[in-house]
Structure formats: structure tokens, C-alpha cells
């Protein structure tokens, strides 16, 4: 259960087409992440699948059944919102039980399921509290609890972690991944954070201006970005993109090299530059290196303890086997 197919789905608001006709298949049990810069249409796409927006044309099928005109309530999907969207006037217990109540389950069955979900999500002690009395992480867990009790065909997550602080975000990321491992239910997750996308996804869908730029596993996208946009978007820190002479030497319009595929050296190498900012993270050091004739600094990863500082001379040697080449249209060669 939980195979979702989008067939030439298009969405326009008035004259503005936010999603040009788009095809996508999400397989049963997959963890799919929609990622892209803000305004790329990823949330709109999720809302189209949820039924919270109507498609302008095209078809959405859930488990083979045409769901294009079904109201959200009838699509057997559960959604976790960025703002949590808990019912502030209900206790945690009633929040989680709400979809069950709407489904017409009797009180005993509701209680059993709510308590099951609460114990999985460590919410048992908070069942009688209201959302206002919970922390951000707890609220997010209640929102997830409300989604899992329904045993939906698929879960939809709309940037669920962006209101949490950094430490909590990492923790919740793991919890959601574990939940997926345990439930094996299809999950569609929207985020603008490519780290979330890389760490959680089975399959990443990179979107730009409503268009799918590339679909693939995190490592496929990392190793073989289909175009310059995906190359620049996936990976942290960003891939260095170089135009001009250096690219022409390698028969390309643009070449890309990731910070981790450049070897820095104080004495010898292919390119010579000066160290700008050095970010010491302990495990790694990132140098922002200024090369002559290049405006943007190159980002280079070095080992944990390298004694090069601002203004020092530095030599860079790219790993030629890890170079990405792109043509004038920005497509991978």
C-alpha cells in the first residue's frame, strides 16, 4: 500500500504556472524527499498530493486508484505540518485520537491506539496536557503520533523540522528515519535542507521552479548530478563550479569539483591561491581559497588540524577522476 503516481500533474494559480506538467512515481514503502530552494513548488506539489490544493490538470493515483478529485479526508494520507497544526483546545490524547474519532472508532479502540502511539513516541506522560504546555520537539511528536494512528497509505511531511533548534532537529531526523524503518510506509518529505534530504531519503526529487531537475538516490545525485543546478544544490559545503580556461582545458563549459576532492598543500599543486577564511570544525577544516582571476572563493576540505591561516599561500590539486563536466546548457557531459 502506498504507491503514488503523478501523471502530467500541472498546477497554475491564475496565469502563473507554478508546476508545469510533471510525471513522478513514488514506490510503495519509499522515503522520498522533495528538495529545492524556497519557492520551487515543493510544498505545492505535496499539497496537491494531499488534496489540499486542486490540480489544474493531470491525474494523481494512489495505489492505482484515481485520487485526483478525492477530498483530503478520503485519500488515506496523513500529514505533518511545519507549524505542527495541533488542536490547541484538545489534550494530547484527544489530538492523537482525533483522526480515529473521525473514522468512527469506539472509545476503547481509540484509547488502545493512542496509548500505543504515545509509548512509541515517548508521550505517555504528556497525554493529559495541552499542546501549549509542550516543548517544540514534543509537539512535533504529537503531530507525528496523530499521523501514525491512522495507519495511512503514506505520510506527508511538510518541512516538519524547520521550527526546531539544531540539536533537536538531528534527533528528530533520526526518529523519523527509524519510524520509517519500522513502519515501512511510504513517506514523502519536503525540505529545503539538502542535509536532511541526503541523510533521510531513499530517493531525492530535486525541484526548481516547479520542474523536476533530477530524481535519484542520495549517492546517485552526489556522484552524478545531471546538471549544474543539482551539482550546486546537493552536497555540503557546495561543489566548486569553475568556468573559463580551466574548464576549456578539460573540454567543458563548466567543471565542478567538490571540496572533499581537492588536496591542499603548502608547497606544490595545480592551482595556486591564498587562504581567505579558514573554518576549523575539529574533525575537518574548510578553507575558502582565493584564486587569481576568480571572484568566488574555492571551498576546500582539509584534515582536522592543518596549520594554514588567513593570507597564507596554498596550492590546490583536484582529483581529476572526481571532476564533473557540464556543457554550455549546464547539462552533464
Amino acid at each position: 500500500m502506498g504507491r503514488i503516481t503523478l501523471d502530467k500533474v500541472r498546477k497554475a494559480f491564475g496565469d502563473v504556472e507554478v508546476i508545469p506538467p510533471l510525471d513522478l512515481t513514488i514506490e510503495e514503502g519509499e522515503f522520498v524527499v522533495f528538495v529545492g530552494p524556497s519557492g520551487c513548488g515543493k510544498s505545492t506539489l505535496l499539497r496537491l498530493i494531499a488534496g489540499l490544493e486542486d490540480v489544474s490538470s493531470g491525474e494523481i493515483r494512489i495505489d492505482g486508484q484515481n485520487a485526483t478529485d478525492l477530498p483530503p479526508a478520503k485519500r488515506r494520507l496523513a500529514m505533518v505540518f511545519q507549524s505542527y497544526a495541533l488542536y490547541p483546545h484538545m489534550t494530547v490524547r484527544k489530538n492523537i485520537a482525533f483522526p480515529l474519532k473521525m473514522a468512527g472508532l469506539d472509545q476503547a479502540a481509540q484509547d488502545k491506539k493512542v496509548e500505543g502511539a504515545a509509548s512509541v513516541l515517548n508521550l505517555t506522560d504528556y497525554l493529559e496536557r495541552r499542546p501549549g504546555q509542550l516543548s517544540g520537539g514534543q509537539r512535533q511528536r504529537v503531530a507525528i503520533g496523530r499521523a501514525i494512528v491512522r495507519e495511512p497509505a503514506a505520510f506527508l511531511f511538510d518541512e516538519p523540522l524547520s521550527n526546531l533548534d539544531a540539536a533537536l532537529r538531528v534527533g528528530m531526523r533520526m526518529e523519523i528515519s527509524e519510524l520509517h524503518e519500522r513502519l515501512k510506509t511510504t513517506m514523502i518529505y519536503v525540505t529545503h535542507d539538502q542535509v536532511e534530504a541526503m541523510t533521510m531519503a531513499d530517493k531525492i526529487v530535486v525541484l526548481r521552479a516547479g520542474n523536476i531537475e533530477q530524481v535519484g538516490s542520495p549517492l546517485e545525485l552526489y556522484r552524478a548530478p545531471r546538471n549544474v543546478f543539482v551539482a550546486g544544490f546537493i552536497g555540503s559545503p557546495k561543489m566548486n563550479l569553475i568556468d573559463g580556461e580551466e574548464a576549456a582545458k578539460r573540454n567543458a563549459h563548466t567543471i565542478g569539483i567538490r571540496p572533499e576532492h581537492i588536496t591542499p598543500s603548502p608547497d606544490a599543486g595545480t592551482w595556486e591561491g591564498t587562504v581567505g577564511v579558514a573554518e576549523h570544525l575539529g574533525s575537518d577544516t574548510f578553507f575558502h581559497v582565493h584564486l587569481p582571476g576568480r571572484e568566488e572563493p574555492m571551498t576546500v576540505r582539509a584534515g582536522g588540524e592543518v596549520s594554514l591561516h588567513h593570507g597564507d599561500k596554498i596550492f590546490l590539486t583536484p582529483d581529476e577522476t572526481q571532476l564533473h563536466r557540464f556543457d554550455a546548457q549546464g547539462l552533464r557531459i
Binding site: 477530498p71 479526508a73 494520507l77 500529514m79 505540518f81 497544526a85 488542536y87 473514522a103 496523530r146 491512522r150
Partner: protein, 276 residues
Amino acid sequence: MARAITPQRKALNTAIAWTFGIMIFFPILWTVLTSFKTEAQAIADPPVFLFFNWTTENYTTVLERSNYFRHFWNSVVISVGSTVLGLIIAVPAAWAMAFVPGKRTKDVLMWMLSTKMLPPVGVLVPIYLIFRDIGLLDTKTGLVIVLTLINLPIIVWMLYTYFKEIPVDILEAARMDGASLRNEVTYVLLPMAVPGIASTMLLNIILAWNEAFWTLNLTAAKAAPLTAFIASYSSPEGLFYAKLSAASTMAIAPILIMGWFSQKQLVRGLTFGAVK
């Protein structure tokens, strides 16, 4: 940064506030005092303030001469009835305008409000004739209908403002959770809007209770509410100020008491959303 307020400044502010407060309250206080005077004291020149022979004779006379409780009951039915009927119509209207606005929603809202700018007397004759023809003159039903229509724009506007404060996400979450439209409104929207709905209700009960133009013009004896009861003591020849005051006091007392007990709710409702 907190502003420094000198004690003198504070005393001055307090004095100004009290002056305005007393000015606003004075007519009501004077009416209540007059209701305990004799007719002669009521028109005495110079007027007597507190030192007169207090008497409850006016109240006895008023209660003997007219059926206060029937008027009171009519007022209750008309104000509560029109408010409840208004809410039944306004909740779906405000829901639609707040959550599924169209291109012309703002215009519709303005148009609704503009009907409040029309002098009611302009439509008195047509409404009177319609009511006469369909037999609604001097009936509580007729007044409930008229007052509902009169106050509907205000009810819709107030509810619209409160509904706008409710995050759409929460209603969408309810939709995703399998709630039908009716369940979404019953279990999620209305409970969250309770403070707003309560103050809308209170304000409209007060407005309908005090409404005099339509209640006086469309009733004779049967459906006359307390406004008509007061009016029956103001006659052009030979004014009976003390009895008029007694009738007024009795008419405003219930709503004054209700307002007193619900003032917290009223203020909270009227400033709802102003401060998060």
C-alpha cells in the same frame, strides 16, 4: 524601555479618566436617582442630588400599570433569538469569507457593512408594508427577523475577524485527519473561536436589547419589548420623569447586570488577536 511616570502625572491621568468615566456614567446614575424621587422632586429647580425623600412608589406604580415581565420576556426572546439566528447564518458566511475567499470577498464584506450606513427610516415604509401583508406586525418572529438582518453585518464582520486569526494549517490538519466540513467546523473551528463567538453574542444581545427604532415602529402591544415599555411613559402632555426613570432603570438593569458580569469576556473578545 519602560516610560517613567511621575506621581503627579499619574494623579492627573487618574483624574482625567475618572472625569470622563463619571461623565459617561452620569446619565445612568441620574436616571436611577430620579426613579427614587417623587414627581415633584424629579422636576425641582435647582435639582436635588442625594438629599431627598427616597421612595419606591414609582416602581410600584409602574409595575401596577404595565406588565413589566411580559415586556422583559419579549426583550429576551427578541435579543437572544435574533442573535442565535444571526450566528447560525453568520458562522458559515464568515467561515467562507475567512478561509475560502474569492476575488470579491472584500467587496462583499464592505457592501454588507455599507448597509449599516443606510438610515433605517429609509426602509421603514416598505418593511412595514411587507410585515403588514404577511402578518408579521407586532409579532416576536417579525422582530427577530428584522433585528437579525440589522445586526447580521456586524456579526459576520466580528466572526470574520476572529476566524482570520485561526491558522489555516489547523483546519487543513483536520481535513487530513478525515474530518468532514461539518466536523471541521464543529470540533475544531468553533471551539477555537469560542472567545470571539461569545463576545459577538454578548455585543449583539446588547445591541438588540437596546434597539428602539424597529421595536417601536413594528410593535403595538403583543410583541412590545422593554424599549416600548419605556416609551409608554414618555407622553407629550404632562411628563412623568420619575416614573419614566423607574421604567428605564428596570429596562436597562438586566442588560447592565449581564454586561457587568461579562465585561472581561467582552473586552477580551473585542481585543482578540490584537496582542498575541
